[in-house]
């Protein structure tokens, strides 16, 4: 069975501090990992996906198959990064995603 674990419900940091939002997954096949972000009262939007190996808004995430992790990182948090972040797992042949429970990031001034 597929599972995504985000152990932190809330992560509070000060502006300029580094951020790491943790995500671990359980899947026996070849995973596709995504990070989605939801700003206050807005729809979910794709932040990044592991196959793109890109940096969006200063965020990066590396897939570590050995540790089954896909942690989201940013070296210097900004107040506008405050949002709900969801890690999601896709699998071969199944387009629907399995989401983690989400982590709320609060960036304080």
């Amino acid at each position: 069975a597929q599972r995504v674990t985000q152990p932190e419900k809330l992560l509070s940091v000060f502006k300029g501090a580094p951020v790491e939002l943790k995500c671990n997954y359980s899947y026996s096949g070849s995973p596709e990992l995504f990070w989605y972000v939801q700003y206050s009262r807005q729809r979910l939007q794709l932040l990044l996906r592991h196959i793109s190996r890109e940096s969006i808004k200063g965020f990066t995430a590396d897939l570590n198959k050995g540790e089954t992790s896909f942690h989201l990182k940013k070296p210097f948090a900004q107040e506008e990064d405050s949002a709900m972040y969801y890690c999601a797992l896709g699998s071969t042949g199944r387009r629907a995603l399995t989401f983690g429970s989400g982590t709320r990031l609060q960036v304080q001034p």
């Binding site: 807005q42 729809r43 969801y86 896709g90 629907a96 995603l97 399995t98 989401f99 983690g100």
Partner: protein, 111 residues
Amino acid sequence: TAGITQAPTSQILAAGRSMTLRCTQDMRHNAMYWYRQDLGLGLRLIHYSNTAGTTGKGEVPDGYSVSRANTDDFPLTLASAVPSQTSVYFCASSDQGGRQFFGPGTRLTVL
């Protein structure tokens, strides 16, 4: 391009009543999904459709039904609402690369 639209934005519904949440996309995506979002539980898949004319059950399908008569529309029906169906409902579609695009959500309260 509007992307995905959902209606209504919010609704208060008496228990036992039926309701259909509407979802329309203009991106010509084959695959569409319905999720519910609950605090502490994230998003859970209710039903999905890989292409027009087909549907499938997700993680939490009980009490919900869907239809997919054409590519653009994917309505979600609650036949007899119960308070545990109070949630925010998101419709989504995905492109060939697997990226999912979400609607703005419908906030449903069942009393």
